[in-house]
């Protein structure tokens, strides 16, 4: 193992959501908006019409392409609106489960069958990339991998959803890991945990002592951002760096999130489709930060209400972690399967203020996990100097944001470099296979 050496130490801010030591059920929401483009892959079409009544877990949209992922209702009630991009369901507040959801008496051991079940349950990578799990598993089988890494690093500040899941549902996570291992054809599964979650590690180890799943191991990693990024994890375990665009399967490793393992366990043994997930609602503006069993399609407003609301006006609302998450415009944007957290950040945390002149302190160079020189890259993007960008290897940037965090002059290096990647070298990026990131885990 070769843990991450570059990167940065971040303040972790995890204590507030961890001080509510359970995963709570939120107050039921009246309206659920299911976005249809929740996974990366071919589009899906609604298979319900306005006025249809649905149960919790009823399939509401599916695609004909094998790589597409079906979508399930996360509440019981009536379909009140169907648009080309979303399905709105009005809840009857009865929360009746679809009759198809019941315990599977005999758990299949055939990988093909497991993958079929995982596809039907609508599983995607819950660590932030939303890649369809079954597609990754099939790719892993055809390439022949030796190790399945379950990413429990969660190196982003504020997020504790994976940590809490490992604490409260260790047996499910372990069993799900084993099922994913069988489905992927790997010889062993390793649950990777950063050292700030040692109690989760202990619980997993002690449960596994009794469960005796010998193929599932645990590994501790240093607390360092971006250790939880897929490329960094693969480098840690494979001892080799991946080329830009190279798949982790080339080195015989598949990375999945621990939340995906939990969802896979529920899908396989309970026949439960992915209609809810653990979400951290946190940020200094939230009165009572918590981890919630959030139904897919709930609005942040409703989830915040379960955390006693906001105590002050936030500067930004973020879906996901503060480093790689995306800002949302208002509190009615429904959550999707890949959202790990909802953060309400005040201006003193989020607003970095005016940009100042670069003093070439060299901190961005020290932070970059890809050994790039962000200062020169950002300068080249601003001057549209494509030759310089290629010489300094713009395409290797993984957009982890470490350079922006450490910059004392508050230069938005990551944003500038990302804009350069999108506009200046677009043709080249398209000619290469695209990155498959699980942005955080």
């Amino acid at each position: 193992m070769k843990p991450l050496k570059k990167g940065i130490r971040l303040p972790d801010f995890k204590y507030r959501s961890l001080s509510s030591p359970q995963i709570y059920l939120p107050e039921p929401a009246r309206f659920i908006t299911l976005l249809l483009n929740q996974h990366s892959g071919p589009a899906i079409k609604p298979c319900v019409e306005k006025g249809n009544s649905v149960f919790v877990g009823t399939k509401v949209a599916e695609g004909s392409h094998w790589n597409s992922v079906p979508l399930h209702s996360s509440t019981s009630g009536r379909v009140s609106e169907v648009t080309p991009t979303s399905i709105v369901i009005e809840s009857d507040e009865a929360d009746r489960l679809d009759p198809s959801i019941h315990i599977r008496s005999e758990i299949p051991t055939d990988p093909g069958q497991l993958i079929q079940i995982i596809r039907e349950a609508g599983l995607v990578d819950l660590g932030g990339s939303a890649n369809p799990t079954h597609v990754r598993l099939i790719q892993a089988r055809s390439e022949g991998i030796h190790t399945l890494i379950l990413n429990g690093c969660e190196s982003e500040p504020f997020l504790t959803c994976d940590h809490m899941l490992m604490l409260r549902h260790p047996v499910e996570v372990l069993k799900g890991a084993e099922l994913l291992r069988i489905a992927s054809g790997a010889k062993r599964a390793v649950i990777a945990i950063e050292r700030n979650k040692l109690e989760a590690l202990e619980i997993l180890n002690s449960k596994n002592y009794n469960l005796k799943i010998t193929t599932v191991e645990t590994a501790t990693l240093p607390v360092r951002y971006p250790q939880g990024m897929e490329r960094c994890l693969v480098e840690t375990f494979a001892g080799r760096h991946l080329k830009p665009g190279e798949s982790s399967l080339n080195v015989g490793i598949l990375v999945e999130n621990v939340a995906t393992a939990f969802a896979a366990y529920e899908a396989i043994s309970l026949r439960k489709p992915l209609y809810e997930r653990v979400i951290t609602v946190d940020g200094p503006c939230v009165v009572e930060p918590k981890n919630l069993w959030a139904r897919i399609g709930t609005r942040p407003m409703d989830l915040l209400r379960s955390c006693k609301g906001l105590m002050r006006e936030p500067e930004r609302i973020i879906f996901g972690g503060p480093m790689t998450g995306e800002a949302i415009e208002h509190l009615e944007v429904p959550i999707t399967k890949k959202v790990q957290g909802i953060l309400a950040l005040p201006s003193e945390l989020a607003n970095s203020g005016a940009e100042e002149a670069c003093i070439r302190c060299g901190r961005c160079v020290e932070a970059c996990p890809e050994l790039l020189i962000p200062e020169t890259l950002a300068r080249a993007v601003r001057k549209n100097d494509i030759a310089l960008l290629e010489e300094y290897d713009l395409n290797s940037c993984t957009e982890c944001g470490s350079c922006t965090y450490v910059c004392p002059s508050k230069i938005p290096l990551a944003a500038v470099i990302r804009s350069g990647k999108n506009t200046l070298v677009k043709e080249e990026v398209h000619s290469k296979p695209a990155y498959v990131f699980s942005s955080e885990g």
């Binding site: 830009p244 105590m311 503060p322 208002h330 003093i359 002059s409």
Partner: protein, 294 residues
Amino acid sequence: MSSLLKGKGEKLFPLVLGPHLKGISSSRTMIWGISAALLPIWISSFIAFGWNSLRVLALTVICAAAFEFGFRVLTAQKQKLKDGSAILTGALLGLLLPPTASWQATVVGVFIAIVIGKEMFGGLGQNLFHPALAGYVALHALFPQETASFSQTVSAAISQLFFENRLDLPSGPSVFSILIAGVILLLRKWIFWQAPLFYLTAAALTSYLIGHVPIYGFMNGSVFFCAFFLVTDGATTPITKRGRCIFAATAGVLTASFFSWMSWMESVVFSVLLMNAVNPLLDRFVRPQSKGLR
């Protein structure tokens, strides 16, 4: 229920790109902090020269601020006095000048440092040469008698070299006060520790190999001042750590070599300026290959 939970249309949050977490370091704090860390050195200089040393300090700092302000007014640029870089340049130049320097010479030196050495290159972070050194070199050429060499005999004992006020650095601080300032910089992580280490080691080894007498003679004010304040400057040294180590080590070798012909002060100034000139080359060619291109 909180009234802050408003719906669409009432409150829109900005759709900015991440990361959304503000870092804790600030370049302004760094520059003002480095200026403040010069305090022990100025106190030591004050002990040696009394009010004269404060006269030079006041003159250089006020002139530096005035010249930057004036230049930015004339060229219609945004005022940047708040970032503190002009003050730092002025305070550093003040330490390079003898307290006996005339006010005319001082003003000319500050003008060259700020206007020609810094602002004409585009201001903070853009300058090729260290502005304070540029100012010193110009004075050295224009007013040779004012900055005349201060080659004191170095046959002093090591404790004298360390704790006494000596004129290796013309303003006369003791090496000990410079070390205090340097340790402050290192503890606050305003400079990378590699640069002073490599510079001092290289200077010591070269001094030993050439056979300067006494062998601890390199432990003097100007060399230590350079180790902590000149070869650690961001703008005029390479941005990569590897480049900085090479920069510092080469500057150390050059400093000790130049001492064969000139005073310690002069060899420090010329070695650093020489390395400043090759800094863009170091930046381009001595850098770690990105992992993607390996």
